[in-house]
């Protein structure tokens, strides 16, 4: 498929069928990526998420940058600006408190996934089996 038409399908903040499910996890996703990759710039983050999720999750500018700026305002991200390819590029990386907060948020997310899994696929109770 011509690369030009790749963007035809990238019109929603997230995949429409699961947008609300991902919405609350965006900052955790961003922080996790930065923890793994050191420093990243905005477009790089969107492409990485798309790659990891095989195109299932597309984060748009309207969702990503406000989240990044909020994290920066909260002191969880630091910023470095460099001149790259005829323009200025803003890189984000975790601060010390950001690294600690990432661990907390990932633990919360794991617990959430565990609880949801128990709710959606409860394990059968032995005393109720026929």
């Amino acid at each position: 498929m011509h690369k030009k038409f790749m963007y035809t399908f990238e019109t929603t903040i997230y995949d429409m069928k699961n947008s609300q499910l991902y919405k609350g996890s965006l900052t955790t996703i961003i922080m996790k990526l930065l923890e793994e990759n050191g420093r990243m710039y905005g477009y790089e983050i969107t492409q990485k998420v798309k790659l990891i999720t095989k195109g299932e999750l597309n984060i748009t500018e309207g969702a990503l940058y406000p989240a990044l700026h909020k994290l920066e305002a909260d002191g969880l991200l630091d910023v470095e600006v460099e001149r790259v390819d005829n323009r200025l590029r803003k890189y984000y990386k975790l601060t010390e408190s950001g690294e600690k907060e990432t661990v907390n948020r990932l633990n919360e997310l794991e617990e959430f996934i565990r609880n949801m899994q128990n709710l959606v696929n409860p394990s059968p109770k032995p005393d109720v089996q026929f």
């Binding site: 940058y65 406000p66 390819d85 005829n86 323009r87 200025l88």
Partner: protein
Amino acid sequence: MYNFKHFKKEKDMSKLTTHQIGFISKYLKNSGVQYTDIRYEMTDHVAAALEEMDGDFYDNFTQYMLLHKKELLESNKQFSRIARNNAFKLVFYNFIRSRGLLILALFFNIGLLLILYTDTAAVIDFYQVSYSVLFIIMGVAYLKMNLFKTEKIWSGTDKLLGTFMSFMYLLTIIVKVDKFTDTEPLLVLYYSVLMSLIIAVFISYRQLTKKYNLQFNG
């Protein structure tokens, strides 16, 4: 006669030229992305996306903007809101920290001393005039930034001055303090708080300007 069209090499779309980057930036500015810091980041995002596309730059740009312009402008609105909230937090922080409280205490105590040893009405007038002068200075700084748009406009500094100009103007119009009280120490306290707040705004403005210059100008 050769048809040179066959020999025309497709422009290498891997890196955009300075002219193309400038085109993107100008387009965003004309679309309402007035703040320099926000525009830098958006330009980079758009440029990075276009660099992954084959074909003519202008065709790709048109295609990209058809699909993403709404999102870009939406994020611009949110940036502005975040910048305003950050400005409020910074001013509040500068107002309540020790330096801010010291300035407030200084204004208040000087006022009280002047009341004890000079004409009370003159002291209140002096404080009113001092507050007005500081307010005008803040207004001039804001107008300079917006009317003479030769300098870069940073979202944080613009929101800081604009928001507090409006806030303090409304406060002065709505809260006519001399109608509520004629107790001189309270009046001195009121104007001392206002002047300390403006000083906190100036301190915050300097801090933000320094931060933006360090980040974007090296």
